[in-house]
């Protein structure tokens, strides 16, 4: 009797062991199934379009590819894109820091409203955003005449392109900084202030070291978006070849010229830059992770 009970137990334990094994293997199956699904989705939706860009860009060989990139209009478009991106990112850094400081270090009435105002551009179609600036600075605007008298061109000139770029990218840095600064709290700044440090000193010596990586992350996102902006810039650009054409607009022009190889060649540069930026982003993220691990790891 006792023996049979023991055996039963062994049997059941054995059975459970088997079950455990099958559940482990089914777990592995699920894991790889999910990875496969995710990879397949990304492959079809993301990688294929990129491969296609590269494929079309090289359809006529390396010489045609290089020719498309070194052609003067392409070079000018590249410079303009670089200019607009750099200026827009610089402006957004100042704004991002100021607004994040305002939103995290102080309490005031209307703070919630301000916070959501900063988020609003996310919800606005870039084309409409471009129209905004046309209405404000264009010929039908009441201030157009004044601008004319001052010989200041905003829309259909570089400033308009910068403004449009700034518009579509301005929430990025604030959005990255606010959570980081919120988590940081105010105590360090308050301590520094009670010790008599001025605003700039506090920012430089206390705040900046803490938010450095968050800021860099925001800058990277902002740069990526600024480089690729098409809709809003297209509305305010005027498409003057060699003057107000950014890289994305140049691609459109080449495409409309039936010059597909060149269009894809220039596009491949943007793809390349985008990937480069994303690699940078990952490096930064990796650094961030390591930093938090170092400060937050207490062993077992």
């Amino acid at each position: 009797m006792a023996v049979s009970v023991t055996r039963n137990r062994f049997l059941s334990a054995d059975f459970e062991a088997k079950q455990q094994r099958t559940s482990v293997s089914s777990e592995i199956f699920v894991k790889w199934l999910l990875i496969f699904l995710g990879a397949a989705f990304l492959f079809v939706m993301l990688i294929l379009p990129l491969v296609l860009v590269g494929f079309e860009a090289l359809a006529k060989g390396w010489d045609a590819y290089l020719a498309a990139l070194t052609e003067p209009f392409a070079r000018k478009a590249f410079l303009l894109t670089a200019e607009a991106t750099v200026i827009a990112v610089l402006l957004n850094v100042v704004f991002g820091l100021a607004s994040a400081w305002l939103l995290t270090k102080f309490d005031f009435r209307g703070k919630a409203v301000l916070g959501s105002l900063i988020d609003l551009p996310f919800a606005i179609s870039p084309v409409v955003a471009g129209l905004f600036f046309i209405m404000l600075f264009g010929r039908m605007s009441p201030i157009y005449q004044t601008l004319q008298d001052l010989h200041v061109a905003v829309v259909f000139a570089v400033p308009g392109i910068i403004l449009a770029t700034v518009f579509v990218t301005f929430p990025f840095i604030t959005r990255e900084l606010v959570p980081v600064m919120e988590a940081q709290g105010r105590s360090e700044e308050e301590a520094a202030a009670t010790m008599g440090a001025g605003g700039w000193t506090i920012f430089r010596r206390v705040t900046l070291p803490n938010i450095k990586w968050g800021l860099i992350y925001g800058i990277i996102l902002c740069t990526a978006r600024a480089m690729g902006e098409f809709g809003a810039v297209s509305v305010v650009s005027g498409h003057i070849r060699g003057k107000t054409n950014t890289l994305p607009l140049h691609i459109e022009i080449l495409y409309n010229e039936y010059n597909f190889t060149a269009a894809f060649a220039v596009a491949s540069i943007l793809v390349f830059l985008a990937i480069l930026i994303l690699v940078l982003r990952n490096l930064v993220e990796w650094k961030l992770e390591r930093k938090s691990e170092r400060s937050g790891n207490h062993g077992l």
Partner: protein, 355 residues
């Protein structure tokens, strides 16, 4: 007799780190066990291996005599209370408690009555429809407790159950938990790094260090007869002396080092010979510092170049820093060669000691 839970030769590594090193112990049915050790001593790992959340590298885990190494956590008949309680935030108290029962596809009626019973047990009948975030930390702990108990496990595991609770509530909860567990008669193991907690709550204590079990026993056994220097050091308040034979009444024939531990309650201080029971056995000492401890004063006195700690009743005249006093060492815990034993003051003869 069969243990309710038994661990045999358990080894567990995380990379180079040895979390469990030949762990062996058994727990009898209905006992409340405190698994005590410093952080990193492997106590939580043991608990998680019993629960099935970790797998040992080798060795057997038996519950009710059955090897469960390959059994999924949910099939081991275990209740687990996590350190942070791990309540389901989006479920009410009622839903949290009912979760385990629903998983086992119990009847609606049965779930209802069991949940009512448990909310009543933890005294949260009125809060049954609240969400965890709307409860105090102490209340959350009780919900976690009730959730673990709901499916009527044969073994309850608690990981640092009081760590997140502030001092005052903690005291209340300790008493409540001990009482409730005894009332239910469920075998329980809780992990703690707080010796007071272990001593106060547990029926038996298992002390772990560096992945090994150092000693098991009742709180009194462990307190009075620590078997290793680590246990002696870890339990109670201890002052190490490199060689106790220098003190009066502890002289020894052989040469060599005689390291030992002197606890505050082993030491008595008198302002003069009259205040002390056996002036002849006492040493001279100088008060170096005094600390008010609420119900007593802790004095640090220097004796033969060693600082010893001793408690002193508030009823007695206060000690001045720098004052010369009489110091009687009743007892010393000695560690000859890795083994601990109690050495009584030979000068005292047959005096009995009151702690």
């Amino acid at each position: 007799m069969a243990y309710e839970v038994e661990l045999r030769n358990i080894d567990k590594h995380y990379g180079d780190f040895k979390a469990s090193d030949h762990v062996n112990f058994g727990v009898n049915r209905g006992r409340l066990i405190g698994l005590l050790g410093p952080s990193g001593s492997g106590k939580t790992t043991i608990l998680r291996m019993i629960a099935g959340l970790e797998r040992p590298d080798s060795g057997d885990i038996l519950i009710d005599g059955q090897r469960v190494n390959n059994l999924a956590p949910g099939k081991r008949g275990i209740g687990f209370v996590f350190q942070n309680y791990a309540l389901f935030r989006h479920m009410t108290v009622r839903e949290n408690i009912a979760f385990g029962l629903k998983v086992q596809k119990e009847g609606k009626q049965k779930i209802r009555s069991r949940v009512d019973e448990l909310t009543h047990l933890i005294g949260l009948d009125k809060f049954a429809d609240r969400y965890p975030m709307q409860l105090s930390v102490g209340q959350r702990q009780r919900v976690a407790f009730a959730r673990a108990l709901a499916p009527s496990p044969r073994l309850l595991l608690l990981d640092e159950p009081f760590a997140a609770i502030d001092a005052k509530v903690r005291k209340e909860l300790r008493g409540w938990l001990r009482e409730t567990i005894h009332k239910l008669g469920i075998t329980s193991i809780f992990v703690t790094h707080d010796q007071d907690e272990a001593v106060e709550v547990a029926d038996d204590i298992i002390i772990t260090n560096k992945g090994r079990v150092e000693q098991t026993g009742t709180p009194a056994e462990i307190y009075q007869l620590p078997r290793t220097p680590f246990v002696a050091d870890f339990i109670g308040e201890s002052v190490h002396v490199p060689d106790y034979t220098v003190f009066k009444g502890f002289e020894a024939g052989e040469d060599g080092a005689h390291p030992g531990i002197i606890r505050p309650e082993f030491v008595e201080i008198g302002l003069n010979d009259k205040e002390i029971a056996m002036p002849l056995a006492a040493e001279h000492g100088i008060v170096r510092a005094t600390y008010f401890r609420g119900s007593s004063v802790e004095a640090h006195v220097e004796v033969k170049g060693q600082i010893l700690k001793a408690g002193r009743s508030l009823e007695k005249p206060p000690l001045q820093e720098g004052a010369e006093v009489r110091v009687l060492i009743h007892r010393i815990l000695s560690f000859g060669d890795g083994k601990a034993e109690t050495v009584e003051n030979k000068s005292k003869r047959k005096e009995s000691v009151v702690i």
